[in-house]
Amino acid sequence: MYTQGLDVQKGDVSIPLEQGDSELERRFQAKIDADEKIEPKDWMPEGYRKTLVRQISQHAHSEVVGMLPEGNWITRAPSLRRKAALLAKIQDEAGHGLYLYSACETLNVSRQELVDQLLEGKAKYSSIFNYPSTTWADIGAIGWLVDGAAIMNQVPLQRCSYGPYSRAMIRICKEESFHQRQGYEIMLTLARGTAAQKRMAQDALNRWWWPSLMMFGPNDKDSPHSAQSMRWKIKRVSNDELRQKFVDVTVPQADFLGLTMPDPALRWNAGSGHYDFGEIDWEEFKQVLQGNGPCNRERMRDRNRAHERGRWVREAALAHAEKRRARAAAQTTAVAAE
């Protein structure tokens, strides 16, 4: 799963847009222009570092919060095979979260700081996970559409200028493609199943389609930091281009399923060679980002509750490790004294 083009919001001034032209900065940009990777020990502008920390941590948080709507169906998965696949998928996502937090730590920020930012509501995660997963078909739709949109976003990031992020993406993309195929296969089984199953699949498509399109973030004209991110090769393809590509790929897949896209304006445009589609409800997008989506409060409450309920466990693990260290040290001292 993936975070989205909510990396930097319009009107956010915490990340400077201007770039200086010191010798260090010129050399940095030259390296990027030559498609070389920036590694953790290399010099980098503060804006570059901050943009990356924000983007990678949002992505990590999205993986972790994304476990909740899918985890919601583990205990109700309809067969042992589906249950095993869902467990494995969520395990992959937790692994992506860990992997991305580690990539972030190479930028001099601790995982603890990042997790605290999430729990305090200061950090964003993908808005898609603030929608509820109400039927089994949602597990199919999330895999097909949400992971599908994630892959669109992530494939270009494999070429991101920052080495650790780029390498994380290569690995993550492989697993996401697998998840996407699994999701589509769930949809296919439902669409070819009983009338009730087909209805379930259509209902899931109706609810997840528009939020999936929102995953690509605001229109390019409303995304002020995109140009800078493009120059830095943190972002490599624009929000609107990715969104269009996703629509073009997904519409025929829906046709194959025999499902109807919930967009009356959707039609093939022979002139442009793309599908035209209706206007996204940006007010809904804005509201979800501001915390007013159907499940924002539940997701944050769940994360905070798990964190609170686990506090004594983490404290015990630290205390025990400290005891072991102390005992080992005492033993070394005793041996030395003999």
Binding site: R76, A84, L87, G310
Partner: protein, 261 residues
């Protein structure tokens, strides 16, 4: 759905019952572990608990497929898991005990089970039933890891802070009454032992007890007194929790009986 006892010989019936006991333990405990997903104390533990849940689910699938073949009534793994009611479930009571959003409960339940499960799977390597021995060969590697994982947490929590020590001791005192059922012998177990298919349950006790003592000592925890032991799960007499597990787990298969997933 009930087992069609008329078509099976007494040996087949005993083997079928025995396989259901093994399979149901794995299904139910895997389910309880799955409930932790996204709610574990640290991300690493989300991964570890899911991992154990996945292993147990994989074991359950192999065992249930075999059970369906032994039964010979055309039931596949899903038919056996999703279409039996509680009184036909054969898991021990220990595995159905709820998490109560308490990591100490999850770890103690897991540890008491793993210490036993490890001995059981090791013994099953020698089973005269080739299929069961093959399943054990794969399972024993997984269970070795499970036991290490739960033992390490017993030690961390027991020998961690005063709070963690208190919580894990309380969970241990509470769950101990379900440990006796693991070693109970009845006609099914006796028949399996006589045929060399499974170990006699009591033969697993000494090694289990030794593991428990060793880990509890390192964890600075006290072993509870053996009081009255609860039992009945292996014969279909469960507590109130199992019904809710099944209501949740079987919902889709029951609500859409003609659907394939």
């Amino acid at each position: 759905m009930t087992a069609d006892t008329e078509k099976m010989t007494p040996e087949q019936q005993a083997l079928f019952d025995y396989l259901l006991r093994l399979g149901d333990n794995a299904v139910v405990l895997s389910h309880r572990l799955g409930e932790w997903c996204g709610h574990a104390p640290v991300l690493e533990e989300d991964i570890a608990l899911i991992n154990v849940a996945l292993d147990l689910l994989g074991q359950a699938r192999s065992i249930m497929t075999y059970a369906g073949e032994v039964e010979g009534a055309g039931h596949d793994e899903d038919a056996l898991v999703y279409r039996r009611d509680g009184f036909d479930y054969r898991n021990v009571l220990l595995v159905e005990q709820p998490n109560e959003e308490n990591f100490a409960v999850a770890i103690v339940r897991q540890f008491l089970f793993d210490a036993w499960h490890y001995e059981l799977q090791t013994a099953l390597l020698q089973s005269s039933d080739a299929r069961l021995a093959a399943i054990a060969a794969k399972s024993v590697k997984e269970v070795t890891y499970h036991l290490r994982h739960s033992s390490e947490w017993m030690v961390r929590l027991g020998d961690g802070t005063a709070e963690s020590h208190g919580r894990v001791q309380e969970a241990l005192d509470d769950l101990w009454r379900f440990s006796g059922e693991l070693f109970e012998a009845d006609a099914v177990e006796e028949r399996m032992a006589a045929a060399g298919i499974g170990p006699h349950p009591q033969s697993l006790y000494a090694a289990w007890s030794e593991t428990v003592d060793r880990v509890l000592a390192e964890a600075t925890l006290s072993r509870p007194e053996d009081g009255w032991m609860q039992s009945g799960g292996r014969n279909g007499r469960h507590g109130e929790h199992l019904g809710f597990i099944l209501a949740e787990m079987q919902f889709l298969q029951r609500a859409y009986p003609d659907a394939r997933w």
